[in-house]
Symmetry: C2
Subunit: 563 residues, 2 copies
């Protein structure tokens, strides 16, 4: 089955599901600042209905979700992205400020309405400035309709939203990043599991409020009945960190990645990159007389943060009874091969394979670099550091406002022959631009993410790239420089996993394929919040001409005012 | 001469001045966050072209000032108010978010254009959220045309912008104020003179950056040539504090208040309330072998902050040579009578008297109270705590959008007979509303501000009330409850000062008179930023029907989108 037919089938499925049993979930969300102490240290957080992480959205495949977002921030705008939801037919609900909508002003209410067309684990978060890291994020669970079989069974389900947390505000972080005297905020103060972590309050200042007895920072505890089997849904909303998640003494069987069923892989611990979601199955098969640690460790960067912990609570032990052991330390932070191999081990479940098109119509190679541009530190793709236009692309393209963003096509590749990805390059030609990639509607596009050395010698970072509006097939991973003549021959055409977020490993490459068949304008960017803020993203457009009238609610900024 | 004629005369003056010699000042301002250390402690500030306080605007009476404000904040909107500039004929340039314009979104440029029609000392500052306290403020100097005599002479001029400063962000302050568990940020960490103060860095926490050798926090120093006479222009942009300013060993002769010439008053020290401006004359007539302190002290609230200091530098001593004495401690903070009497001593310069209309057409009495409303702590006027509508009043009224704010007239008075202003009152009928006062165009309006006890026993605060779009005559001050039968008999009909900001003293009243002859919508509010944020304000409308088409640049929020 080719992918256009598969989309059609999906739409038909949605239609029939809707007509039979689909429900509409009406949610009213109040977004505002509140003092929270997720790691015992009191700090301003952006909350939804008083919560950070916000409420978990639970719906069934085919349902419609309607979220009325009231912006109760004092002076700040906002926008919320439904990460992993493809927004088939509703590109204006993607929640990406500057791409699909104007920001929601303080005091305003914006209504997002979309269909959750596929089961799986997703997330939502702010897509404006660095507000995701300020606490505006949460999980989406899309269940299969009753009676529908999944390729695994379990007795119960638990959810884990994992995150990194700073005590300085995102304004402080952003100001440091945007200064000509680049200032880095430093490593996170703590790692959070379901918004709970632990900071050493003796490090706090005299003006700080830090209280280790606050109930807000008692660890998350997951009760398990001995002998039973559990599905853990995991979503990383991390600002910066690549994580390794380990459940002391318990193997994890990976069964779902970004809403797609995985051929089961058993691992001792799971690498999770920002923007990724997984389901794993665990069995409560250990000595039931004690509890066990959930350990969250930073990988890929040299950790400067204590292991984040939660408790696997074997019933009827006390939920907060401290395990008698030390929390898992995870793998070596710089063991790239370990992470690379785990990435490669994740392929589609054999019963759920949707094979990719065998060939593609276009190859875009995206070199990932850190650059100095006009004295500012930036991230760039093919030497272009991305900036958002004032008028959202969706409105600009639909209304033919060609002057609001650069009409020069964004570059298809980099200097493959001579560029040395293994050493510092100064890229004097690097520029900033809001130019985009426009796709032929229905065409198959290959994108190869090529990693390189940063501005620091012997350093290449991990970048989790997230595509809006689509899933892509992960065609292959490699170390070193991608060779367009050779490497495509080793692509997985048989059972590649589909994802919306994928890592490009240090000095490596990752190849993706997708079909440009969802009319709209879609961001594709590194999910490290600081990296996107510093320009590490691109935008894809396809089939905007097929869309009907855009809702005026997405307008009201730049050239979309007074139209 | 009645006041309508005086306005006409003024307009003619502006016209002739313009046609002869008026200039247009084009300013380009970039508003953004930067780390600043005004008191040695590094903190995020909102800056204009890198400065906080922002650049001083200097123009000559009759000139036009055009300010292109680029909002370079990441996620925050903004708006800038030109405090003391009446905006005759340009009500859309008043810069009051929610009243005269929609906020300026990040990445947008808004152009303010107005005539500075009267000489004197003014200020500008953000009028959105609590951004003024985040650093977005500065001074406006309007000079007399060359050859024009002022009623005093001097050899040189110095400017002082005075302020209070916190190390927590305004977001933190605002969140505490808006919580049902009301949290007060506490007294300021330091008092600033021209953006310079001094914090005791040994009180800073381990994550803080505090450096007493930073050049940013070396004290302001005002060089004086012995024997010469100086005009000091003073503007208080304070968030909270009432100030007393003392120049060690030097008397001050008050000669200007809020742009109006004062019958000279000699004082040992000057009380300055937030939103007020003064000019004082000093003579460098002390022992020239040393420097002297400028001492800034908190009055009206029990001080929790060290005296703010700067240096009066007698040339040729070193500008930063420390005076051998202790800085002035100012008067007793709770000496209300002292402040009350100084307020009463300020009347119009005899040669510049513009007498008020002898009678008024309307009396509005505004009871100032602190209230609990639905569990939240608020400030209220006649038991109404003010809230801003989403659509600016100016647009709403001009376009007849009656549904965007309450059409119920705001209350003209309170229960004069039975209300006990000297004790805590629980005011169970207090409400929030965005209702306004609509004035007959050209009518004369008396407003009496009546102070009362707060929610704390034996406590009444000082409230500096600021009126946009007008100057008012200060008809009288009193202690205790205003009696409309008796007190107007003691009004000063001879030589009252005109001001735009005036204090109502603890348990006292202040009576104002103004002519509603400036078409537009005008805020009138307590200039303590937290108090206005908590509802201590009202809005006056007059003659909006006389205005031509409004500029679309003020639109783009609420119901003013897509019109």
């Amino acid at each position: 089955m080719n992918s256009i037919s598969s989309i059609l089938l999906l739409l038909l499925t949605v239609f029939f599901t809707s007509s039979i049993e689909a429900r509409v979930h009406h949610l009213k969300w109040d977004v505002k600042y509140e003092y929270k102490s997720p790691d015992c240290f009191s700090k301003l957080s952006i909350t939804i209905n008083g919560l950070s992480p916000g409420p978990t959205i639970t719906a069934t495949r085919g349902d419609t979700v309607v979220v009325e977002v009231f912006n109760g921030l004092l002076t700040e705008n906002t926008a919320i992205h439904w990460h992993g939801i493809r927004q088939l037919g509703t590109p204006w609900s993607d929640g990406t400020e500057g791409v699909t909508q104007c920001p929601i002003q303080p005091g305003e209410t914006f209504v997002y309405r979309f269909v959750v067309d596929r089961e799986g684990t997703y997330m939502y978060h702010a897509h404006y400035g660095m507000q995701r890291s300020a606490g505006l994020h949460g999980m989406i669970r899309v269940l299969v309709p009753e009676g529908t079989r999944e390729p695994f069974t379990y007795d119960g389900e638990r959810t884990l939203v994992i995150n990194d947390w700073w005590h300085k505000s995102t304004f402080e972080q952003a100001t440091g990043l945007a200064s000509s005297k680049f200032t880095w905020i430093g490593e996170p103060q703590s790692l959070l599991i379901n918004g709970r972590g632990r900071y050493n309050c003796s490090m706090a200042g005299p003006m700080d409020v830090c209280n280790t007895t606050s109930p807000e920072c008692s660890p998350a505890s997951f009760v398990l009945v001995p002998g039973k089997t559990y599905r853990l849904r995991i979503a990383s909303v991390a600002s910066l960190s690549a994580f390794n998640l380990e459940l002391e003494g318990h193997n994890l069987t990976i069964v779902e990645a970004d809403g797609h069923y995985v051929r089961p892989v058993v691992v001792k611990n799971l690498n999770v990159y920002s923007g990724e979601t997984y389901s794993v199955i665990i069995k409560a098969d250990q000595d039931p007389s004690r509890n066990y640690w959930v350990g969250l460790n930073v990988v890929s960067r040299k950790p400067g943060t204590q292991t984040g912990t939660a408790i696997l609570n074997y019933y009827p032990n006390h939920p907060l009874a401290r395990p008698p052991t030390a929390p898992p330390a995870g793998p070596m932070w710089n063991d790239v091969e370990y992470r690379f191999n785990q990435s490669r081990s994740i392929v589609s479940h054999p019963e759920y394979v949707e094979p990719p098109p065998r060939t593609s119509d276009r190859l875009i190679i995206l070199l990932n670099t850190q650059n100095k541009i006009d004295g500012y530190t930036k991230w760039a793709v093919n030497n272009v550091s991305f900036t958002l236009p004032l008028t959202p692309y969706l409105v600009a393209i639909k209304q033919g406002l060609r002057h609001v963003f650069s009409q020069k096509p964004a570059p298809e590749t980099y200097d493959l022959k001579t560029y040395d990805i293994h050493n510092v390059s100064h890229n004097p030609n690097a520029t900033t631009s809001n130019s985009i990639y426009r796709m032929d509607f229905g065409s198959t596009v290959d994108v190869v993410l090529q990693n390189a050395n940063t501005l620091n010698p012997n350093n290449s970072e991990t970048h989790p790239w997230h595509l809006h509006g689509h899933d892509f097939w992960v065609m292959g991973y490699g170390m070193g420089k991608f060779d367009p003549e050779v490497d495509p021959k080793s692509y997985n055409l048989v059972d590649p996993i589909q994802k919306n977020t994928v890592a490009v490993h240090p000095y490596g490459w990752t190849a993706l394929r997708f079909v440009a068949n969802n009319p709209g304008v879609w961001a594709f960017h590194c999910h490290v919040e600081a990296h996107f803020f510093m320009g590490m993203g691109v935008v894809f457009e396809e089939g905007v001409e097929k869309l009907g009238k855009l809702p005026t609610s997405i307008m009201g900024c730049g050239e979309s005012k007074h139209r």
